[in-house]
């Protein structure tokens, strides 16, 4: 495959950044998208140029490290995949591919395609946990949880924290990410004790990080590599509303 790549290059967070165009003539359809970038980077290194910085690690769609906007879509033109699981067979020979970092106020660019997603961690610090110290747990089967509830909790806990939801949203909203955690813990009996405080604290932290609000366009759900449903946002809104009423 022969490809024309238009890649966002930005030296560091202070740099303004711009697109650079590269051509690659030895890609093939069985490569993953990141392997294609590896090949580009080997080529750039051999030419004495600076390789393109991009985040990646597990390369099997679970660590949530990778992610770029590819031809305008977070994680590119395939469904239910992270960038690392995207394969070149989804592209045509001779195609031009535009590659950009996540763009959101909450995710400043550090270099090229690498962004700082520490805002997600800070939202988690605010309340994304159940207070239980090591050693104080009771027997796991003491509290049966109906399968349907456990499955629904899993469908939210499935979130890999990649940030595609923010990148896809016109408001750069982190609602799907936050809702996934709020919903996961609010569904389970173990999460009940702190659920009122949790939703308030996490939403507050989310607002402080500069993420926008949800206007129900559903772009996040469409681009989420784990297909996390926006019904979790609905559940978070319900939790938030009842928490606000309960506390006043």
């Amino acid at each position: 495959m022969k490809l024309t790549l238009e890649v966002w290059r930005q030296k560091n967070s202070e740099d303004k950044g711009k697109f650079e165009t590269y051509t690659l003539d030895n890609a093939n359809e069985h490569m993953s998208f990141l392997e294609m970038l590896d090949v580009l980077n080997e080529k750039l290194t051999k030419e004495g140029k600076d390789p393109v910085a991009f985040s990646h690690d597990c390369r099997e769609g679970i660590c949530g490290s990778c992610g770029c906007v590819i031809n305008g879509r977070p994680h590119g033109p395939d469904e239910e995949v992270a960038t690392c699981q995207l394969h070149m067979r989804k592209f045509e020979d001779g195609q031009k591919i535009t590659i950009e970092p996540w763009r959101a106020k909450g995710f400043p660019v550090l270099k090229d395609l690498v962004v700082d997603r520490s805002a997600f961690d800070r939202i988690m610090h605010a309340g994304g946990f159940i207070t239980v110290s090591t050693g104080s747990a009771v027997d796991a089967n003491l509290m049966p949880i109906p399968k349907a509830i456990a499955d629904e909790a899993f469908s939210a806990a499935n979130c890999i924290g990649c940030g595609a939801c923010v990148a896809a949203c016109k408001n750069a909203s982190a609602m799907l990410f936050v809702a996934a955690k709020v919903s996961h813990l609010a569904l389970l009996p173990q999460g009940q004790a702190e659920k009122t405080e949790r939703v308030k604290k996490m939403v507050k932290a989310m607002d402080q990080e500069g993420f926008g609000n949800c206007t129900n366009t559903g772009a996040c759900e469409a681009e989420c590599p784990k297909s996390i449903s926006i019904r979790h946002i609905a559940r978070m809104n319900r939790e938030y509303l009842s928490a606000s009423i309960a506390s006043e």
């Binding site: 093939n28 392997e35 590896d38 290194t45 660590c63 796991a140 949880i145 389970l188």
Partner: protein
């Protein structure tokens, strides 16, 4: 170097309880004065950091990721073992202990393994309390499945994402402590050296991977939970950034490295497709609960499949060889990993492989789908089937999966005593980074168990025995030892970026990986190992003279990070070959072709090799091999049989 395993006296069943009672304690007021560094935030690191902070210690945690949640434990698929016996199928702590010792081919310490089995039940309780959404039955109770090397169902799971859910549980416990200010989290920091003062580990040197700054951090004790070294093979199921650097640099400072030749080749991974390949993807062992492994009975048929003239669906039942069921009727498809991998290799080497490279066998779900339903199979393995489909572009509900063994886990690692302390006082190693519990072969669903056992339940007790004797003075970084270590790290980093030679880091890493895979992989011979040592030395030379690291050290520079890691992999690779050469027997994942039974099974030599090999680094010559004898008081050593 003296190896004292500190295994407690008494009956196997009482050792851990007695030991815990005898360990020295630190009173709560004094814990606040003590600082502990934890490197790595996978299952072992995150659980240790959170649990120690809960106890009152000040914890500084480090990860090279942008967030602790991205550690490679996240990718573990199949499950976690625990001797809960919720299913009334005869499981017990003793049985889990026994299966693990036997699965490890009798090359692990009885006392460590028993403790692991003992605390396994608490891990499940802890995880459920944190909100880990394990799979459940319709009555709301926890579901289990089976894994290799066991005849009971004791594996708890969350679809094919058990590692993710357990890690997010440990990450949430860590987040709670971060919010309380008891853990200070340092993201995007790579540990490049451990600092010793008066022979004790008192701090680390890290590189800030965004600014390039070399930072010093001091503490009263240091814990390494930095994972395994599977990426020495270049292609493995490990994440791209997993590496041995933290453990290796500790080794060079005096920590013994044990059993480096014990590496695990996992039988069910997606076969390699081309030279550009950057990593291999695991298909969970849990799939062998329902999948049947086979190749065609005739070489001619296999040849036709390889050429694409026919597919698996064209081969009638009578023409299929379910070779695991044939060779091992009582365990069938659920034999341990080393056994399954070798059996697949044997068939492929004999010409029965079913992918164009010849290196692949089938894993077939047709019978299971017929017996249950596609929906039930999807419930259990949905994400794995989806992952396979995305990579291979073929629907595994209709067409059998194609799989081949790949490097997955490393049983070897830093030598630790029963308290998980290395040969450097004050330096501890947890999880895959240590060598302690899996012997020569790890059973499926035991890595998650060990990582969390070490972090949640072992280290919080054992570290106090060390900390009870240290002085409370605030540790400082303004010492000659820190100066020296920081300078060495900086010099090395500058050196790597200064030579713009002719080989990229990846080129040298690929070369290294190929040698290790061919000669220190599934089958090893004395001759091959000697060649490997020579060839690795050549790579070492090429690296020293001719590596090309673009860019500078004062920025985000992935090539520089990789170069430092490959530098250590090259040295480790040589030690692996030496260790494999010295171990004149076959056991578990270490298969010396000279030592096999008539049926091609691993042939141990218990008289001479029922010991741990712990290597001491020697800057001026060959490394020194020390031995820790393994004493079996409860289990009788037998030829492992899964027939």
């Amino acid at each position: 170097m003296k190896l004292n395993s500190n295994i407690p006296e008494g009956n196997l069943q009482d050792k851990w309880q007695n030991h815990k009672f005898k360990l020295k304690l630190v009173n709560p007021a004094n814990k606040r004065k003590l600082k502990v560094i934890v490197v790595g935030t996978g299952l072992a690191g995150a659980s240790a950091a959170a649990s120690l902070a809960e106890l009152g210690y000040q914890v500084d945690a480090f990860t090279f990721h942008d967030s602790p949640r991205r550690a490679h434990s996240i990718a573990a698929q199949g499950g976690i073992n625990a001797a809960k016996n919720y299913h009334n199928d005869g499981d017990s702590v003793y049985r889990l202990f026994y299966d693990t010792i036997k699965g490890g081919d009798y090359r692990a310490r009885e006392a460590n393994v028993y403790r692991l089995a003992e605390v396994s039940v608490n891990i499940i309780d802890q995880a459920v309390a944190q909100g880990v959404p394990f799979a459940r039955e319709y009555g709301g109770l926890l579901d289990n499945r089976s894994f290799g090397g066991a005849q009971v169902s004791r594996t708890f799971y969350a679809k094919g994402q058990t590692g993710q859910q357990l890690l997010l549980g440990a990450y949430s416990a860590l987040n709670r402590q971060i919010s309380l200010g008891t853990v200070t989290m340092h993201n995007r920091r790579e540990m490049l050296d451990v600092v010793l003062i008066d022979g004790h580990a008192k701090g680390i040197i890290v590189r800030n991977m965004v600014t390039g700054e070399i930072e010093r951090h001091a503490a009263h004790a240091v814990i390494l939970a930095t994972g395994g070294y599977g990426n020495v093979y270049y292609l493995s199921t490990n994440a791209k950034n997993s590496n041995v650097t933290a453990a290796w640099r500790a080794h060079k400072k005096g920590a013994a490295f044990a059993n480096p030749c014990y590496t695990q080749i996992h039988p069910t991974c997606i076969p390699q497709s081309g030279e550009y390949q950057s990593k291999l993807t695991l298909m969970s062992e849990s799939l062998r609960n329902d999948g049947r492994v086979w190749v065609p009975k005739s070489k001619e048929t296999a040849e036709k499949v390889r050429k694409g003239e026919i597919t698996a669906l064209d081969i009638p039942e009578s023409e299929r060889d379910y070779f695991l069921e044939r060779r091992y009727p009582s365990f069938g498809n659920l034999v341990p990993r080393d056994v399954a991998s070798r059996a697949a290799k044997e068939r492929c080497d004999a010409g029965f492989g079913i992918v164009p490279t010849g290196q692949g066998v089938y894993l077939d779900f047709a019978d299971a789908i017929k017996r249950t339903s596609a929906h039930l199979i999807e419930e259990k393995y949905g994400n794995l089937f989806q992952m396979y489909n995305k990579i291979i572009d073929e629907d595994p509900y209709k067409m059998p999966m194609k799989i081949y063994p790949a490097v997955h886990y490393t049983m070897g690692g830093l030598w630790v005593d029963y308290n998980l302390m290395t040969t450097i006082p004050g330096l501890f190693a947890l999880g895959e980074a240590n060598f302690s519990d899996h012997g020569a072969n790890r059973l499926g669903a035991s890595a998650l168990m060990q990582g969390l056992a070490d972090g949640y339940f072992v280290i919080p007790s054992t570290i106090s025995n060390y900390l009870a004797d240290v002085e409370f003075t605030k540790p400082g970084t303004d010492t000659a030892e820190f100066d020296r270590a920081a300078k060495e790290v900086k010099d090395n980093t500058d050196d790597l970026t200064s030579k713009k030679g002719k080989y990229t880091v990846d080129e040298l890493h690929r070369q290294l990986g190929k040698i290790i895979w061919d000669k220190v992989g599934m089958g090893r011979t004395a001759e091959g190992l000697k060649e490997a040592i020579q060839q690795i030395n050549q790579i070492k030379e090429d690296f020293k003279k001719d590596v090309h690291v673009p860019g500078s050290a004062a920025e985000i520079n992935e090539a520089l990070e990789k170069a430092g890691r490959v530098q250590d992999f090259i040295e480790l690779g040589e030690l692996m070959a030496r260790d494999a050469l010295a171990r004149e027997e076959s056991c578990g994942g270490h298969f010396r072709e000279e030592h096999q039974t008539e049926e091609g099974e691993a042939l141990r030599n218990d008289e001479q090799f029922a010991h741990v090999a712990a290597w001491e680094y020697n800057a001026n010559g060959d490394p020194v091999r020390h031995q820790e004898e393994l004493i079996f008081e409860n289990v009788k050593l037998t030829q492992r049989s899964y027939k």
